[in-house]
Symmetry: C2
Subunit: 685 residues, 2 copies
Amino acid sequence: MLNEKLTNPKSIAIIGASNNLQTPGGRVLKNLIDQKYKGELFAVNPKEIIVQGVKCFQNIDNLPKVDLAIIAIAAKYTLDTVKILAQQKNTKGFIIFSAGFSEKDEEGKKLEQAIVDEINSVGGTLLGPNNIGLINQNFAGVFTTPIPKLNSKGVDFISGSGATAVFIIEAAMATGLTFSSVYSVGNSAQIGVEEVLEHLDETFEEATSSKVKLLYIESVENPQKLLKHANSLIQKGCKIAAIKAGSSSAGSRAASSHTGALANSDVAVDALFKKAGIVRCYGRNELITVASIFMHPELVGKNIVIITHAGGPAVMLTDTLSKNGLNVPEIKGKKSEELLSKLYLGSSVSNPIDFLATGNAEQLETIIDYCEHKFEEIDAMVVIFGSPGLFEVFDVYDVLHKKIRTCKKPIFPILPSVVNVKKEIDFFIEKGNITFPDEVLFGNALGKIVNTSKPKRITKIKSTFNSDKIRTIIKSVTNGYLQPQIVKELLLAADIPIVNEAICTSKKECKKVANELEYPVVMKIVGPVHKSDVGGIILNISSEEKLIASFDTIMKIEGATSVLIQPMKKGIELFIGAKKEDKFGHLVLCGLGGIYIEVLKDTQAALAPVSKNEALEMIQNLKSYKIIQGFRNQQGVNENKFAEIIEKVSDLLAIAPEIIELDLNPLLGNSKEIIAVDARIRIEK
Amino acid sequence: MLNEKLTNPKSIAIIGASNNLQTPGGRVLKNLIDQKYKGELFAVNPKEIIVQGVKCFQNIDNLPKVDLAIIAIAAKYTLDTVKILAQQKNTKGFIIFSAGFSEKDEEGKKLEQAIVDEINSVGGTLLGPNNIGLINQNFAGVFTTPIPKLNSKGVDFISGSGATAVFIIEAAMATGLTFSSVYSVGNSAQIGVEEVLEHLDETFEEATSSKVKLLYIESVENPQKLLKHANSLIQKGCKIAAIKAGSSSAGSRAASSHTGALANSDVAVDALFKKAGIVRCYGRNELITVASIFMHPELVGKNIVIITHAGGPAVMLTDTLSKNGLNVPEIKGKKSEELLSKLYLGSSVSNPIDFLATGNAEQLETIIDYCEHKFEEIDAMVVIFGSPGLFEVFDVYDVLHKKIRTCKKPIFPILPSVVNVKKEIDFFIEKGNITFPDEVLFGNALGKIVNTSKPKRITKIKSTFNSDKIRTIIKSVTNGYLQPQIVKELLLAADIPIVNEAICTSKKECKKVANELEYPVVMKIVGPVHKSDVGGIILNISSEEKLIASFDTIMKIEGATSVLIQPMKKGIELFIGAKKEDKFGHLVLCGLGGIYIEVLKDTQAALAPVSKNEALEMIQNLKSYKIIQGFRNQQGVNENKFAEIIEKVSDLLAIAPEIIELDLNPLLGNSKEIIAVDARIRIEK
């Protein structure tokens, strides 16, 4: 837990403070002084009496009690220092810049753990080690520059990489994005991204807290905590965007099943973000652009008007918005003609509204007023206004400044002339505005936000089926793939429809079973994992004669131990899978079967528990959804039933978390029923 | 044609020159003077004697002969001015800034045409009207600022939008991208983007010309010219990137066939760019990033090493490169251990090479030397180096500057600290380097370049089939959809395999035909366009009894005029289509049939003529290509045969350009043969 000594210290000691501004201990003190830290400041350095005008202690033993220690000395000295501070100086907040801990070697890891233990023993909080520190409204406890523009309604930014945090702050300064806090967690020895987010959630206050959170994550250590607090913050009205770097390495993992190949830790991250409602970004520029949009009023609706004096960028933005599913609707009718009459000849108001290179501030004001009050179909305005360099545009940006504050509809300012009207842009930013330099980067970011699904309510399992029975079965089995008969019992106990079937080891048994099930039947090999790869599935067996021949064929295949006989069912092949993904818990996947999952990789994944509504959203997001709906004169699939089975699978996983892989592949579906015709389950206790 | 009077004038007159720098006529003169134009300058303005130190003529009649006139007066005065210049002053180059022509109204359009006629009559060249002008090594004939850094090896940039050109120049200045020329074509009254490109192609000289061309296009007026010269320039070693804005509006067009719905002018642009080898961009930032990569040595191979002192950006770049099909291979072995021993403890050399926050210039030099000389598997280096703000990094960027010039492998510098080390970045750029501020934008642009296909050689048709027969058939038919029998004759004449079939209007005929073709047969409705929508296809008719019943069923359907009987063929459904797309000529499409084209929209398109190799590339680029290859134990399709038929369709279109729509849908294919089982052709003479 983060304590107030860390986030709002009344006194700070810099251990390793220096007059040399090229050292972390020198620069952090300078930052604290420059940013007018209001509490008491102490320096510790054996060689100095005064550091940067601050009283310096040569020996830490002489230091008075202090809330927060910022430690910038060699790693090997840190443990002793922490001990004295924790045990004698009532210090409860620690920021350790020093490197040379768990990121370096085993020895460093032990040292780090010893420090954490020491700090834990007094209920203290540690940020770092190996980080750049912490900036918030109270103090600038970082050794890096620049210090961003601070503002309690700016973004809260938690970063797993110090350098990335610096580069993001640098890039953000040119656009006017302000910060409420920046947490660099370094090695996350005690406090990681998840714990800071938890803190922001638990201390959130509607009136005073920032509503925008940015995360840069390299490793999700506690997915459930991340999910819980991100989801909670978003439910409270916050917006969160995050980069989870390291997405590509996971793809190479070997996998023993369809679901195994389709689900990996990056799919799990996607699923977690989707469930939480986090907008996933992949780069610094994108994160900043998304954050800048978040700092404007939320876009409600999809109808955008583009207002410009320059055709080209408006056309490119129209393309980009359209590609992202947003509308740039034509504006027609009397009011639009009225507006046109107020602009120079040759202007266009049909959307984009182009008021020509000669368009002026007064006209912009008129246009915005029409869009705000008279064009009811419009939900938001994007104003693209640069300059060829002939005259100043202070008046135009003043109109923007005023209208952004008074209009109910969001107004996004795209100001591309970063050279010609740099002064005007700087002045506009100084007054508290945020700008976007490139219309296409803006349009894609807006699209990404609009297309991120809403956070899901965390659901509980339904109790409509036999959980006792499920537990009894799980207790009775050993690790590995379950026998077909056990799979069937488990699915039936979970109320998941599976085709009637029986295993036969002799021709006589085959005949008996086939007669009971009624012809035509299907015969499948028991033994090898990929039945169809070895030719171990024979469909549409319509007579006893063919049944016997099929039995002979299959039993000759290597690895065959027996055969499975099922009635022949028809329908569209569907797929439901589940996989336990390390700390994330279970991923549930769905899609159409066969080539759709294997060639086209058209699947959707969600983190369990999956509600029926969430399952419906998954189904509707499939590229092949049209086939489920029924395409041309082909019957579709009952998507309600499909969603119900997905939910039941999720419930089964909740009762039997020992299931590490589950494949219903295929299920056969039509407009009335869906039934699994092949299933595999793997257990690990 | 662009003449030398426009591009390299010995004398320039500014019509409408002014001392007021807020006017185009004032600013262009200032630019010409500031950029040290070496020829003679004249001003024309009835109210002045000297303008900005340049001799001014009150009356154009007194002007001496002049090569180029830059006209910045009201539209209504331009025609008279042009007449005097063209007829009396031997002026052959014209740039008209003025607006109020074809972009405004009909009257303006007529005025514009009159000016073009006048200029054509003396063999002159006109850039504009309604543009910002022209900048090249010889003069800065634009009324806008800033003037970019000029350099004969910088990029040639042709823009269909003046404002977009300005914004691109502005954004490029921060990264060091230099220009060789900037052409703003405005209304393209005489000279459009295509004509400028033609000029650059025809005047191209290996030793002295720029090798990078950028285009911003809003309307492709002459696709064939664009294709010819882009392709030619690229074959000569140039690189071209282009934005074609206005891609989204086309999607809404109503269409009467599959191909119609899949092919539109934006697909045609894609196909044209692909054939030419142009890298298609969608925004200013992307265009600049691609151009900046073009200015570095070409990446040969796909193995990239990332060298950095900051982990985060390297991880994000690794993800981005991997997503784009590039490799960040692990570096192992003795040499890598040797390198590791030369870096600080805790560094990593396995790729990304991370030499820690404390890494210095000397270490960077060593690392680059290893990557250049010792790590043979590496094709290019990306160096990410910023600064947390503690000290200067001039020495690091000096190493980069030196190595970029001496290494054979390309080195791409990502310099994210745009605030902390702005001075160093500016100095680095001043010395002629180009930087990338964001690693992910860089990585995506590099991926886009690598994944753009090589330009196609423009092929001629083969003469292996009966073109006389084809012409005879085309001459004999009227506009509209051809009758099935004619379609069949046309396809057979083009050597395109189509299933044997016959049209029957009576049960008696049906019986006769089915016996000849041999059972089982297929019966299809003749009449309605979408046969399967109305239930007008009955497959697998195995007996005379079923044949008669089928005939009854189909003839009851509204619109049925007769039935078509074919032998029942089996195989994977394929699709080949063609559509005449306005000025672009014919688009040829291919894909798998059925849901693949209708639900998954998985098609590839190319601009005719399509060679067999190009057809193979199309097939291999299909998302469903694995199915064509043969998936699991399912037989695939002979892709060679598939490609041959695509080429034959292309040849047919060359001989019969009156074909405006052609659908072979489906063809049935297996590993041996491919045969069309349904075909439609529409003609417009």
